[in-house]
Amino acid sequence: MITVSQLITTVKNLLEVDSDLTDVWVEGEVSNFKQAASGHCYFTLKDSRAVVPCVMWRNDALRLRRLPVDGEQVAIHGYISLYEPQGKLQFYADRLDLAGLGKLYQEFERLKAQLAAEGLFDAARKQPLPVWPARIGVVTSSKAAALRDILRTLAVRYPLVDVLLAPTAVQGAEAPAQIAAAIDLLNAWNLGVEPIDVLIVARGGGSIEELWAFNDEQVVRAIAASVIPVISGVGHETDFTLSDLAADQRAPTPTGAAALAVPDRLELAGQLPGLRSRLQSAAAGHIDRERRQLVQTRRLLERLSPAVQLATRRQQVDELSRSMTRTAAHRLAVQRAQVDGMRARLASLDPNAVLARGYAILQEPVSGAVITSVAQAASGMAIRARVADGEFDVTVS
């Protein structure tokens, strides 16, 4: 067992999760239309077999150019839900299009399907937009705010472009033919001496009927056939026309179309200081490299110069002479040591040293020959005796 509230809430939840019922266009005849003092509108939409109660809140109703009257054929957009206090189904409309739009939508869908089948909307057909347009063609009304929005945006972002306006009506019975002719005219112009880099086809916001020219087959075909890339900017963010589908690029508004068409001057100007400093550092870097190379070359040159070689030779001479001097002194010292050694050995051989210990040397007085044998002595012979401190004669007996 569940409560009434639970039952109604469950049904309401079922309705509100169904996407076919929450974003839907419904066509029918208005009856019992009333606007309350609050501004909210209440009415019934019916066809030959059924009715549905509808409500449109004040804010949505304010956007209507006029209120519908009973018996009028309209299309409404919104979602269906359950009004719990009365347990009744109710359609919550956020948009209401007057008079025969239901047929227009059918025609829209038919044409869209046909042109899509022909490939007019294919991604492969889309042309890229030029990065640096020099001349821009604008197809719009010369009197409307859309043109001012476009020109002001171009003037602010990139006043370097040349603008060529092909004025045209953008609503009313003659609009489709004029818009198509303007697009063709600028394409013909493009073949002359002044090429056109990109086209903006635009119209400001308005009711769905006012934008309808941009769903016209003639306009859509002219856009698709344009040799010059086309940017569409029709209506507001939420408006989607067949022109948007055929254009090479769709912008949400005329201002948006102008912004897509050109680069931004401030962004470009912002790049200039960076380029300037890269320029300076690249040039300064080159000069630095050259200077370093110059310093290295100068060092190399200095190493190879005769002056340096002379100095090197002089140094070598100095070193040789120093080492020569060193060698000579060394040799002298060695020789002196040898002499000293000899002297010592000589001293040890000095016969006088023996005499000092009491020995005497006998010599034959005339010849001086040393007498070392008895055979050399004869009785009565005079012999010289040499002792440590002198000599005297003795006679052999």
């Binding site: 020099a134 010369s142 020109l151 003037a155 370097l160 060529l164 200039l272 040039a283």
Partner: protein, 84 residues
């Protein structure tokens, strides 16, 4: 004598400036080439600056020339700086 840059469009000047910077950064130049490029780059930068500063949107509209063809006439209903 220095070369005249007066006839360059902003697009040409900006692209040449980018190429100049790239050539300088790539090296592989004589010092004289490098200095000439640098000097040219500085002049291109100044030209870009002044083109951006001084540009004024030029608007014409296509009108019938009375002989079955069309011509471009000045569009005077809007002036740069004009607000809505």
């Amino acid at each position: 004598m220095t070369e005249s840059l007066q006839d360059l469009s902003f697009e040409e000047a900006f692209e040449q400036l980018q190429e100049t910077v790239q050539a300088l950064e790539a090296g592989d130049l004589t010092l004289a080439q490098s200095l000439a490029l640098f000097e040219r780059g500085v002049r291109l930068t100044n030209l870009c600056d002044s083109l951006l500063d001084n540009a004024e949107l030029h608007v014409r509209q296509v009108v019938a020339d009375g002989a079955g063809g069309f011509e471009a006439a000045p569009f005077t209903a809007w002036q740069p700086g004009e607000e809505l």
